[in-house]
């Protein structure tokens, strides 16, 4: 932390504030909002309550996997619509399900290295609006038709048209299938269920609990980062539509396997829902926090990305979280709250099993000893993607934002957010809640332990782009 507070690399990065839209359930037809509309709704509510005008942002970074055809470089569209003006650059990042988290990480890197002071970052996805594509054969036919000069040639080309050519291709379905191993995401989940021996009942129970926790959070008003969505037709959306309060084990047990019928165990009930939503966070340097008198929601400590076999992509969080804790000498108990995105119930359960497995630690993580089990009372305390939905490009930003809210509510310090990423990756981010942070101090040092010089060693670790000053004084794992 030699450079703490200075303009050089490694400046601390603060989370100031954040908003998300309600998550709208995809209903088999295009939803009421495009991806950019969703991000604008979240972003403008966020910016309206800031003491500085949007033009002062240095950058807008948004994650989105499938922007609409009119949304090339969606982040720039959103920035312009938010009133940032022409001078604020913006870019869109794509790391599949990690896109939202990647946006936060990219923003943090820009702040840490001194390039930016204030960045709007987040993610958005309108999965219901994933385009339908024409098949390759039809596209070739149409191209030939366009080239054809005479009526005869045209008729000959048209004569080759077959009904099967007219079946559209769902870009969503294509996107959810791994192009390397050829498995759909649901099929990789089936693989985890069988290799970790996780029963359908255990998965379904996990899903029921996700709904129960979300319902409770809703009732207690714990989803305060959510702002209502208003349609131009006067429609209002202020609830997460995925929540089913009547979900129970018996009901889930009746569902048919969604991916590998008839013997599979992964159903629509124990998989994340397909939905539309956006989340935006405001991130700032210590200097910007002080200059504008901004509140501090937390500080980014570290971010790590890991790769593994595409077939086992669901275990990505384990691979991404382990190095962060290992490097800092932290254990499971040092982390006060966890958000592991629920793509599939089995995938989170497999992560929990692998996390405490000595064999897995040795074979895959290069650690002599595994971590302690993660306390279920600290994991996804307000439910997750199973109940809420998983708008792929948005979820990374949502879990970090909600994690910061949980830390604030519990007056707790360290939180870990992680998700699995299609294609065989994992992403994880360690954050420090507002508790014990003193942004007035130029270094933004942890009030409890003070700046820890030894953390400078993290600077040598390329993966750990932005390491603040979380203390090593928090003890061994």
């Amino acid at each position: 932390m030699a450079a703490a507070g200075g303009a050089g690399p490694g400046r601390p990065v603060y989370f100031v504030d954040g908003c998300r839209t309600p998550f709208l359930k995809a209903r088999g037809m295009p939803g009421p909002f495009r991806a950019a509309d969703l991000a604008v709704a979240a972003g403008r509510a966020l910016l309206a309550r800031q003491p500085f005008p949007p033009e002062l942002l240095d950058e807008v970074v948004l994650g989105c996997i499938m922007p609409g055809p009119d949304e090339a470089n969606l982040a720039r569209i959103v920035a312009m619509r938010l009133g940032c003006g022409p001078r604020v650059p913006a870019w869109t990042v794509q790391r599949n399900c990690g896109s939202g988290l990647q946006a936060l990480h990219s923003a943090a890197q820009a702040i840490a290295c001194g390039r930016s002071e204030l960045v709007l970052a987040g993610g958005t996805e309108a999965m219901s609006r994933a385009p339908l594509l024409l098949g390759d054969e039809l596209v070739e036919l149409l191209a030939e038709l366009a080239r054809a000069r005479s009526l005869g040639t045209r008729l000959r080309v048209l004569a080759r048209l077959r009904p099967r050519h007219l079946v559209p291709v769902s870009s969503l379905q294509r996107g959810l299938r791994d192009p390397i191993c050829g498995l759909g995401m649901g099929q990789t989940a089936e693989g985890l269920a069988s290799s970790f021996g996780i029963s359908r009942v255990r998965m379904d129970a996990f899903a029921v609990e996700s709904h129960r926790r979300l319902a409770e959070a809703e009732d207690l008003g714990h989803l305060e980062e959510r702002v209502p969505l208003f349609g131009p037709d006067g429609a209002r959306y202020d609830r997460d539509e995925g929540l089913r309060r009547d979900t129970d084990l018996a009901g889930l047990a009746r569902l048919r396997p969604a991916f590998e019928p008839p013997h599979g165990v992964i159903t629509a009930g124990n998989s994340a829902q397909i939905s539309d939503g956006a989340a935006c966070l405001l991130m700032a340097s210590g200097a910007a926090v002080r200059r504008h008198g901004l509140p501090v929601l937390g500080r980014m400590e570290a971010c790590h990305w890991a790769g593994l076999e595409p077939e086992r992509m669901g275990l990505g969080p384990v691979h991404a979280m382990a190095p962060i804790l290992a490097r800092r000498g932290l254990g499971s108990a040092d982390v006060d709250a966890w958000e592991i995105n629920e793509a599939f119930a089995v995938q989170v359960l497999a992560c929990l099993d692998a996390w405490q497995s000595p064999e897995y630690a040795r074979a895959h993580l290069g650690l002599d000893a595994p971590f302690q089990a993660i306390d279920p009372g600290r994991l996804n305390v307000d439910g997750g993607g199973l109940a809420l939905g998983h708008p792929v490009g948005c979820s990374g930003a949502r879990i970090v934002l909600h994690l910061l809210q949980v830390l604030r509510r519990r007056r707790a310090r360290l939180g870990m957010a992680a998700l699995c990423i299609g294609g065989g990756q994992g992403g994880a981010m360690l954050v420090h809640g507002a508790e014990g942070l003193d942004p007035e101090e130029p270094g933004g040092a942890d009030g409890a332990g003070g700046a820890d010089g030894a953390d400078g060693a993290d600077g040598a670790d390329g993966a750990d782009g932005v390491d603040g000053g979380a203390g090593r004084d928090r003890g061994a794992r």
């Binding site: 005008p53 619509r81 209502p228 208003f230 131009p232 037709d233 006067g234």
Partner: protein, 681 residues
């Protein structure tokens, strides 16, 4: 060829190597090209020079960035002494434009920005026209709004170019066309992006650029010939008579008469003469005088909006209360480019506001991208977060003193130091609302009238504690959203309500006496009010009227029938039943017998209003007669051709009006007692 660059004050001739002569209009000492006598007089010498230079073609353009030409100089026109002078003025313009039209080489007018009235007549004297596709390009002949019609040959040339039906439509409505609409109609020959204007103009000079007309355009031109022409004129006259009164508004009828008289083929000189005579006669009539005065009042109010500090117009607006008034005002502000946050505890009201705003934007903007941008500027803000960034905060919640004060207590600590805090209250005294504010000097009243999108006036009500700075900022803001600010002294009712409500009460008294509402409204409409008082009261809401009348004090006289209707829940249009019964939002109006002679209704209604106007002037609610008239014309639609209440009093003679009042007071009671202010008139 040497054009003698510095020979002219208002015009410039630039030859180019291709043989094209570029004639630029650049009126000296003015930022816009109004066509003054000076400018016109010089055009004669310019054209003589053009003939000497013998270019291959001539392009006429404006050197002003703000547009081609907004038309004749209204101030100059208003100063013309009599019909003879006006006739001479028109004939000068006609002669010059005819000289331009008869130049031996091809001519093209190159149009950007406003090209209106005399400016469009000038462009029409060129053989071809090309316009920029920018949204600022507007073409039209709005003279009818000043009680006259085109007088520099425009009515003749437009009719010959487009055919009588589209030409008359344009001149009768006074509406302004976008470049695209002008192209569709055949008014311009090409529409191009501004960056291509010069090249497009040059191309139109070439021999290959023959005009291409659509079938519809050709058909319209055919209608200009006998025998279609007189039939069309008869039809148009009946159509015009349905919407306006020939005594109040003679100009539309004069236009139709010109069409009927004109003979296709020969007699162009006769048609020009008829046009000039008609304008000269109209221009010296009382309607045109009044309408020109109203136009000048409007310019004066616009002038009041110019921020004297040169500070930028407010960008962010926060509106508390998404009800009828606040919500529509918020949508209007967003339409006018402001960033608006709307606070309301009821999310349903916010949602319905957005639906209404969406409709307004789609109707006004059409382009889906602009509609989306306007929607993006209008942010529902349940928690009132936007107050902290707003330059102006408008409170438009229900008329409850304590609720308003509570809201101010919550809002004020979050306001920026230079923000203005305004209340839309119509009935509560500003002094009492200001009580308890930490910085009362930035507090004032902004009184908006229904319908917000239709009524152009906003009263800026300063109370004794309002700082000059806040009042200036508020006026600048009103101007920035294209409304007219009227500075009034705070007090119950402001200006418009104080003058209007006694008139509404008199109408309701008449209803109580058994006169049919439709009969009362007919009398007021015959006088020239856009909506009769009974229907207006029903539309404003009878409960609102009652509250306003109570706020004005006992002298106002509250009719028993008003209290009874409100007590019964018959609140007017909103509840479906008031003095009228409403079906699907429209009043059910019975067929009426012929009007009773004598006109007692009109007198009772009108004199209450005039008496209140004189009282407002005496108590200096507004600074002078002009502002009073501006307030009632733009805020309440008072017959503009009568020039507002004071204009009407001046025309009719104050002494006579006072006598009538005294007579009414004897007959109906002290509410007609002439105000002491009459003596000073």
């Amino acid at each position: 060829m040497n054009a003698g660059r510095d020979a002219f004050r208002h015009w410039r001739l630039d030859p180019d190597p291709g043989g094209i002569l570029w004639l630029s209009l650049d009126r000296a000492d003015s930022s816009s090209n109004t066509l003054s006598v000076d400018v016109l007089a010089e055009l004669g010498r310019v054209l003589a020079q053009v003939v000497r230079l013998r270019p291959r073609g001539l392009v006429l353009r404006s050197a002003k960035p703000d547009g081609f030409s907004p038309g004749a100089d209204i101030g100059e026109f208003a100063r013309l002494a009599g019909a003879a002078e006006a006739l001479a003025h028109c004939q000068l313009g006609q002669a010059l434009f005819t000289a331009l039209a008869q130049l031996p080489m091809p001519t093209v007018a190159m149009i950007h920005g406003p090209c209106l009235g005399g400016g469009l007549e000038l462009a029409l004297a060129c053989r071809r026209r090309v316009a920029s596709d920018a949204p600022g390009t507007r073409l039209g002949l709005p003279e009818v709004r000043l009680g006259i019609h085109p007088g520099f040959g425009g009515s003749v040339r437009l009719t010959d170019l487009l055919g009588p039906a589209p030409a008359l439509d344009l001149m009768l409505s006074g509406r302004q066309l976008s470049a695209r609409a002008a192209l569709r109609m055949g008014l311009v020959d090409a529409v191009v992006p501004e960056r291509q204007l010069a090249r497009a103009a040059a191309a139109l000079l070439g021999p290959e650029a023959r005009p291409r007309r659509t079938l519809a355009q050709r058909a319209h031109r055919l209608l200009g010939h006998w025998p279609a022409r007189p039939i069309l004129a008869g039809w148009l006259r009946r159509r015009v008579a349905r919407s306006v009164d020939p005594v109040h508004y003679p100009a539309p009828f004069a236009l139709v008469a010109l069409l009927a008289a004109g003979r296709s083929g020969g007699g162009t000189a006769d048609r020009f003469l008829a046009e000039a005579r008609s304008v000269a006669q109209l221009g010296t009539g009382s309607t045109a005088r009044s309408l020109v005065r109203v136009f000048q009042l409007q310019e004066r109010l616009k002038g009041l909006a110019l921020d004297r500090h040169g500070a930028p117009a407010p960008r962010c607006v926060h509106v508390a209360g998404a009800g009828a008034l606040g919500g529509v005002f918020a949508a209007w502000c967003a339409l006018q480019g402001r960033l608006v946050t709307v606070q309301d505890p009821d999310p349903e009201r916010l949602a319905s506001l957005l639906a209404r705003a969406g409709e307004l934007f789609r109707r006004q903007l059409k382009d889906p991208r602009e509609v989306r941008a306007a929607m993006d500027r209008l942010l529902p803000d349940p928690d009132g977060a936007g107050a902290g960034r707003a330059d102006l905060v408008l409170e438009a919640i229900g008329e409850d003193l304590e609720a308003k004060r509570t809201l101010y207590r919550a809002l004020e600590p979050r306001l920026r130091p230079e923000a203005v805090l305004a209340s839309a209250t119509a009935t509560l005294p500003l002094e009492r609302l200001a009580d308890g504010l930490a910085r009362p000097e930035r507090f004032l009243g902004l009184r908006i009238f229904q319908p917000v999108a239709g009524t152009r006036l906003v009263e800026v009500a300063a109370w004794s504690g309002t700082g000059r700075d806040a009042a200036d900022r508020a006026a600048a803001f009103v101007g920035a959203i294209r409304r007219l600010p009227l500075p009034v002294r705070a007090g119950p009712g402001g200006l418009v309500h104080r003058v209007l409500v006694p008139y509404l009460m008199e109408a309701l008294l008449l209803v109580g006496e058994g006169v049919a509402p439709a009969e009362i409204d007919r009398a007021a409409e015959a006088f020239g009010m856009p909506v009769g008082p009974v229907l207006l009261a029903d539309s404003m809401g009878l409960d609102t009227c009652l509250a306003l009348a109570r706020g004005l004090g006992p002298a106002c006289g509250i009719p028993a029938i008003l209290e009874a209707l409100v007590a019964a829940g018959h609140l007017g249009r909103a509840s479906g039943q008031g003095c009228y019964r409403f079906q699907a939002g429209r009043p059910v109006r019975p067929r009426l017998p012929a009007p009773r002679p004598g006109g007692g209704l009109e007198q009772r209604l009108l004199l209450r209003m005039l008496n209140a106007a004189v009282a407002c002037l005496r108590t200096r609610v507004v600074a002078d007669e002009d502002l009073l008239d501006a307030g009632l014309v733009f805020g309440a639609g008072f017959a503009p051709f009568r020039g507002g209440p004071m204009g009407h009093i001046r025309q009719e003679g104050p002494g006579r009006q006072e006598q009538l009042l005294a007579a009414l007071a004897d007959q109906h009671g002290p509410r007609f007692t002439p105000d002491p202010g009459w003596g000073a008139l």
